[in-house]
Symmetry: C2
Subunit: 191 residues, 2 copies
Amino acid sequence: MKELEERIAQEGRIIDGRIIKVDGFLNHRIDTKLLNRMGKEFYRLFGDLGVTKILTAEASGIAVAVIAAQYFDVPVVFAKKAKSDNIEGGLYASEIYSYTYNRKVTFLVSKQWLGAEDRVLIIDDFLANGEALRGLIDIVDMAGAQLMGVGVAVEKGFQEGGKRLRERGINLQSLAIIEGVEDGKFRFRQA
Amino acid sequence: MKELEERIAQEGRIIDGRIIKVDGFLNHRIDTKLLNRMGKEFYRLFGDLGVTKILTAEASGIAVAVIAAQYFDVPVVFAKKAKSDNIEGGLYASEIYSYTYNRKVTFLVSKQWLGAEDRVLIIDDFLANGEALRGLIDIVDMAGAQLMGVGVAVEKGFQEGGKRLRERGINLQSLAIIEGVEDGKFRFRQA
């Protein structure tokens, strides 16, 4: 998606050669207009698959997912990251390693809100090593639901996550794929 | 807001006489259509105040805030709850006590995304004791920004948070105010 690539090129920054910071429009400050156009693009990519539910993970996946869900006209379920008093038993749980926080994180989804009848689109803001998406896909499998696709806003193409998911035959579509950085400039994978 | 009261009456549950669970449409599974109508209602309540930014807190405030922000045509900034590698220096920080998690939580907002020029509407999903909102208001004050109002989806009117904020003269509007529960039925404050 050209507009997203342009915003990354203009505002994105690299920290420690590892973290791509786009918190001016995606991760901390949210540009709702851009997200709206991204939601429309996800609908163009996945809109004819009979999706019944969009699954994402808290926290920064929620914004992208709910805006996209308006086009699909389906509810969003977001995986919670820690057991709070607000979640009772009857949970799907999948443990992942968070490279952002350098610790294990458990995704929790109530069995009440995801089941075998669901056709699920996973949407997330970022894809790097793919741990978060692996955890969400685990939960779709545990529910016996059908995974229709995975939509990602920004993929770091120089890490292995996207490759691994595509090798598993998963219908993964990323709106922008960063191949690398040269002379401080982002290079994107061509469609 | 009648529709929200009806959904709470139909699907809400009380846990330990303390937690009101509405995770079928607001906190875990998100009913995007309902949120859309809630966003429109927030715009009706606050739309003429020249709001330039909507501030919320991760995680469950994000969905309500971004959907509402589409009507206001302004960006959302969400306070983060823990220091991750993705946030650099230059932060407003406010410590609150989370009754949901029974521990202290620090809200962080980058100084880059909130400043003295901003006219801020705070939106959150829940108001009980008001700790989360107190933390967000602190951050608006630290930024030297102007607080135009606070919009809440569900207020627990039998706890003190709402009263305290209104006594401070804050323009607080809640879409549904639960006064109490009698014989397992929710009682709402009349407008």
